[in-house]
């Protein structure tokens, strides 16, 4: 095993651990604000995995959008909602055991199949001019999905206003 590969493994498991710890925090904290902070840790861990896998662009986007925008929005929503800051909520309900079992089952099935799959490994390394290529693809092959997303965002925007206005 080359040092390069060892480093990749070490980085992958470190980042994976961070993502997992954050996720456990997010679902186990009784204070909803702390749960949201756990989510940030988890998002950073996932971004780290992208960096280890040399998908820098996706990693940066993950940090900018998920850590920078979405969690901040969640925090604002919590702080601006009366009663949510003081009280604690419980992530437990009567179905938690059944849900946990089903989730484990799904995980086991996915993990078994993932380990047994012969993944197509890309023959060439990711080139350094990735971002221009992504931009070009968005404007050519993926131009229709790109436009569909813009329509989707507009619908979401209108919907949010309809729900929120007095």
């Amino acid at each position: 095993m080359s040092t390069d590969l060892v480093l990749t493994y070490v980085g992958f498991f470190m980042m994976g651990a961070i993502a997992l710890i954050g996720a456990v925090l997010a679902v186990s904290q009784r204070n909803i604000l702390r749960a949201a902070l756990g989510l940030i840790v988890s998002f950073i861990g996932v971004a780290g995995i992208y960096f280890v896998l040399e998908a820098e662009f996706v990693g940066v986007v993950q940090i900018l959008i998920y850590v920078g925008a979405i969690t901040i929005l969640i925090l604002f929503a919590i702080m601006l909602t009366r009663g949510l800051m003081q009280g604690t909520t419980s992530g437990h309900n009567s179905q938690w055991l059944a849900a946990a079992l089903l989730a484990m089952l799904l995980f086991a099935a996915l993990a078994l199949v993932a380990l047994g799959t012969n993944w197509n490994v890309a023959a060439t390394r990711v080139s350094s001019d990735l971002i221009p290529k992504i931009g070009a693809e968005l404007m050519t092959t993926y131009v229709l999905p790109f436009e569909a997303v813009s329509l989707l965002l507009l619908a979401a925007l209108v919907g949010a206003i309809v729900i929120a206005r007095e």
Binding site: V113, T117, L144, L151, G159
Partner: protein, 476 residues
């Protein structure tokens, strides 16, 4: 860097574009209209939908792909496009007076319906999992809002929140499925997935896609949201959701499984057959127990999803055309049934309990007769559209070696007769209930009911042209 522009064949997505543009026009129109003029926005929506229908008819026999095989125009897609548009037109006709009576008459109401229709049309035209996912979200998001549109009504808010949370959850499964399918095959294009070697990973991906589709069309065990959402949402929206979402999601469901995953058919046919049995049985049995007519129709819509699933299990040309015909028949019939419920409302009050229908045959003989026809069609009585639809689906199942599934379907239809006839019996046999005046039916609601009625009878008596149009249109 030079860009090679893809084949921007706008004609292929013309119906989608026209509806999207109408949505934007209505949204802008909201700004410049007074509250008395909101009706005009409804008429504008109707014009947009009809224009889209015209554009869709122009795509008949076009057989083309565009945008690097992201979308495909085939007769399968055109048939479903027209079905969805018919559903949307009837829904808007029913909405004019309903929204005024319930004080939800705004431009956003119509714009959100049009956004949702845009997603639906894109979904049945999609030839790529990415487009299917985005279309699924585009059709769902406006519906979450519309379900909660009556904001002073707690049930409506509850419906919107439940639908949103569970819908987002199921979308995550769907997206995970797409990722795994991509990992297994290296593509998201339906035709190219079919060309790659099947693997266990592809099977797991297909399973997660199934969860996403099953949630949208309300198959057991992913149906839990349906009764609460259908009951809480404004009735016009319930009517729209119960038919158009099914047509769109089943369209993509059929296309994804029949075009991209036929190699795995041995595996998924058995699973889908079991789900179909559970869905039909639970839907019909639970509908027996409902006193609220919206909840009853919600469980009935679950049962109908089970019948349509039989057509997917049957596969082949017969299965596809049976599913298409059934979706059209179900769209007209169910909108008719909900339309009659809406027509019988009085201001903000609605006749939600079966007992509220007592004695209506004497006060409103025409309306009572219409509701009877729609209920009989839902139950699958000849000579109405529902009968022909069930006949085609069970016929396709028998033809392709799934006779036992057809038998389960027929038994379920028999059970369903009981609850479909309960409001009918109340209308003709019971005494009128106190506190209800004779309903006055608004002209546009009457128009919608008559259109649905003509469709239900025409499809039942002369099914041949529609069957011919539904046959063999799935492009690969």
């Amino acid at each position: 860097m030079s860009l090679s522009v893809p084949d921007l064949n706008l004609r292929i997505i013309a119906p989608v574009l026209i509806v999207a543009i109408s949505a934007l026009v209505v949204l802008l129109g909201e700004l410049v209209t007074s509250s008395a003029q909101k009706r005009g926005l409804g008429y504008a929506s109707l014009v947009g939908l009809l224009a889209a229908g015209g554009a869709a008819m122009g795509l008949w026999d076009a057989h083309a792909v565009a945008f690097r095989e992201m979308v495909r125009a085939d007769n399968f897609g055109v048939f479903l496009t027209l079905t969805i548009l018919a559903g949307a037109v009837l829904c808007i006709l029913l909405s004019f007076d309903f929204t005024r009576a319930h004080r939800i008459e705004t431009g956003e109401y119509y714009a959100l319906i049009l956004f949702s229709v845009t997603g639906m049309l894109l979904m049945v035209t999609a030839a790529d999992l990415i487009i299917i996912f985005l279309a699924l979200e585009l059709l769902s998001l406006p519906l979450y809002i519309l379900a909660a549109f009556k904001r002073e009504d707690e049930r409506s808010l509850e419906a919107g929140l439940k639908y949103f949370l569970l819908g987002a959850f199921s979308s995550a499964f769907f997206l995970y499925g797409i990722a795994l399918v991509y990992g297994a095959t290296g593509t998201t294009n339906l035709a190219r997935i079919a060309a790659s070697a099947p693997s266990e990973m592809l099977l797991i991906g297909a399973g997660l896609l199934l969860v996403g589709f099953a949630f949208k069309v309300a198959l057991v065990p992913f149906h839990w949201w349906t009764p609460d959402v259908y009951e809480g949402a404004p009735t016009t929206i319930t009517a729209f959701m119960s038919v158009a979402v099914k047509a769109a999601a089943f369209g993509a469901f059929l296309r994804a499984f029949l075009v991209a995953l036929p190699a795995l058919a041995m595996d998924w046919r058995v699973v889908l057959a079991i789900i179909a049995v559970l869905t039909m049985t639970l839907g019909n049995v639970a509908a027996l127990l409902q006193a609220n007519i919206k909840r009853m129709l919600a469980y009935s819509s679950i049962a109908h999803a089970g019948y349509i699933l039989i057509a997917l299990v049957a596969m082949g040309g017969a299965g596809v055309s049976a599913a298409l015909f059934y979706l059209l028949a179900y769209t007209l019939t169910n909108l008719g049934a909900f339309g009659a419920v809406i027509a019988l409302g009085e201001g903000e009050r609605e006749r939600l309990n079966v007992s509220d229908y007592g004695g209506l045959a004497r006060m409103q003989p025409l309306l009572a007769a219409m509701l009877t026809v729609f209920m009989l069609s839902l139950a699958g009585f000849p000579p109405f559209a529902g009968f022909v639809g069930k006949f085609l689906i069970f016929g396709a199942a028998v033809q392709n070696g799934w006779a036992w599934l057809a038998v389960v379907g027929v038994l379920n239809s028999l059970v369903s007769v009981y609850f479909y006839l309960r409001p009918v019996v109340a209308m003709y046999m019971s005494e009128p209930v106190e506190g209800w005046g004779a309903p006055r039916v608004a002209p546009l609601v009457a128009l919608a009911l008559v259109l649905a009625l003509i469709g239900v009878i025409a499809l039942g008596v002369f099914p041949a042209p529609a069957i011919a149009l539904a046959a063999g249109g799935l492009g690969r």
